[in-house]
């Protein structure tokens, strides 16, 4: 999710929640204040009526007033005064509306009367509704404007970040051109750019140093080889050469060619069973030292076409791997089976290893100094050039490595 939309969503949620809460409290507060005022004016009516009764000993004449009702009823005795909300008919507007009413008792000419003074709240309600409507419109307006403004602002403010990112995407280590960031007036971005600049600069420097080193190393290697080869080329021009000489020179050519090219192209048919047996014999003392029991299931055998040195390294790495990551008193199982498969499993920590990283260089399941993290990556590379496939499986406590020849 983009930073914009993430921020926008969070912002939207929080703002809406705040507006709803404040709207509700605004509504209740407003209603409370309005009713307070109504009650006050109703109390004033009451004192006026009571004063009239006290002065003239009779009930006042009722004049119809808009939004107001005054009703006198005969009562049997005194009743305490009370406020209530009621829907009633307006005597003038003939409209039924919400009324705030005050009921109280007066004694006039020895007769108790129940007096109800009511005031229509219609207009006030209209006012409250309008206020709420205006508020909602204002909220929506504020939300839209703020989202638009935020979007534009963010885009502008984050510009240095995106340009930096773009530059980094096109960055290639070892290219002479150093990466140039534009300075931003935001400290965080400036800091990031400085760090990136230093990192890329260091990568460039290291790369160049390494390149120079390999160039020097290859120069040291290749120049004597070039001299040797050229001398050989000259020697074979000699007509006096005998068959014995030429055999020797042919051997020298072969070695030179191998040094110059790939040394491991000499392939032979190798019996997997012989190879495994040889390795087990070689590891015998190491197994004993770690109290490891070895179980072999080698009723099957097949031959593969492989460079003997590479095959040796492959087996060696797999076996030493099985020992290194084992537990004391654990076991190593070796099995050769049809059609062309070889599996080596070992007991160890009951945690499955990360299959995606296992065969990469410098991967270590446990970070410690005793291993280089190169063994399995070499195994994989040997498999790549030797037409076979390596895979890893884990069940309960056993880590298994399966090599399949195609």
């Amino acid at each position: 999710m983009k930073l914009f939309s993430r921020l926008y969503r969070l912002n939207l949620g929080v703002t809406i929640a705040i507006f709803i809460l404040s709207g509700l409290s605004f509504y209740f507060l407003l209603s409370y204040v309005v009713i307070e005022q109504f009650d006050e004016s109703l109390q004033i009516e009451r004192t006026e009526i009571e004063r009239h009764v006290l002065t003239y000993k009779q009930l006042p004449q009722i004049m119809p007033v808009k939004d107001m009702v005054i009703v006198f009823e005969n009562a049997n005795g005194f009743m305490p005064s009370s406020f209530k909300n009621e829907i009633a008919y307006d005597t003038v507007g003939r409209d039924h509306a919400d009324f705030r009413k005050l009921e109280f008792s007066v004694l006039a000419a020895r007769q108790w009367y129940r007096v109800t003074v009511g005031k229509s709240m219609e207009n006030t309600e209209h006012l409250i509704h309008s206020i709420i409507a205006i508020s909602i419109v204002a909220i929506l307006l504020i939300l839209t404007i703020s989202s638009v403004v935020n979007r534009a602002l963010l885009k502008k403010l984050w510009q240095p970040f995106y340009t930096g990112l773009q530059l980094m995407k096109h960055y290639e280590v070892g290219k002479q051109k150093p990466i140039e960031f534009s300075t931003a007036d935001i400290d965080e971005f400036n800091e990031m750019q400085i760090v990136l600049k230093q990192a890329t600069h260091k990568a460039d420097k290291d790369f160049l140093a390494l390149k120079e080193f390999t160039e020097n190393a290859s120069h040291e290697m290749q120049t004597p080889l070039a001299v040797l080869r050229s001398k050989l080329d000259l020697v074979i021009q000699d007509d006096q050469m005998t068959a014995v000489h030429s055999d020797n020179f042919r051997a020298m050519y072969k070695v030179l060619t191998q040094i110059g090219n790939d040394q491991f192209l000499d392939k032979r048919m190798i019996s997997i069973k012989d190879l495994v047996e040889e390795r087990i014999a070689g590891f015998e003392e190491i197994f004993k030292e770690n109290a490891l029991s070895v179980m072999c299931e080698m009723d099957w055998d097949f031959k593969v076409s492989m460079n003997p040195d590479l095959a040796g390294i492959l087996m060696n790495n797999l076996f030493s791997n099985a020992v290194k990551h084992n537990i004391r008193g654990g076991s190593v199982q070796v099995k050769i089976f049809s059609p062309r498969k070889f599996v080596i499993s070992n007991s160890g920590r009951s945690v499955e290893l990360d299959n995606s990283k296992l065969f990469t260089r410098f991967y270590k399941s446990v970070p410690d100094g005793s291993t280089t993290g190169l063994g399995l990556s070499i195994v994989r590379e040997i498999c790549d050039v030797s037409n076979c496939k390596i895979s890893y499986q884990f069940d309960k406590e056993n880590h298994s490595f399966l090599v399949e020849w195609l």
Partner: protein, 239 residues
Amino acid sequence: MLKNILKILIVEDEPDLSSSIASFLESETFLCENAGSYQLAMEKIQESDFACIILDIGLPDGTGLDLLQQLRAGNKTEGVIIISARNSVDDKVAGLQKGADDYLVKPFHLSELGARVASIIRRKNFDGQTIINCNNLVVDLSKRRASVNEIPVDLTKKEFELLLYFLSNKNKVISKDAIAEHLWKENMDLSDNYDFIYTHVKNLRKKLIWAGCEDYLKSVYGMGYKFQQPERSINYHQG
């Protein structure tokens, strides 16, 4: 008909290597001079014109690339082959961009160098429109066709390359490794078995003889093959 001797300058600080190159290339048509340093090479270039310069990049008092730049800045059009131990694409591109005609990575076979020198000289001196004439054998480089007594010989691409390689290294024993490297470059699967080279040479030889050509191709026991030069030398013709 070009009879004058072509001069080749070898700029290489390793005396063993430069003397090997010189004695391999030297013949009736080529005369080699050695320069072991940048300074010496500059002097020699000022003094005389060379048909081709074989240039090492790493020199004790400068780099071959600088020398090349100086050369091109001074409007010298000599063919330049860079020989370098550096095998990175970047270096090759840098060398070729600075005006080198070819780039050969050490270690190389002298016959490979010979073929490239011959090719550059043909290109520079005859605008690439070259016919190599060797008695009754005529090789048309622009049309990539060979003929004997004006009868075309139907050669495969590899056989033509092979013939050209032999013609560029006449009278030299060319090892099978060198042939394999020349024809298949790095892509080839180097096995002990060079039967495929034998087959190609055999077919080429058969086709040439069948067309009425002399048997120039000699097998050298255990080592490789040699294009035995007939009495008259190979001549370059324009057109």
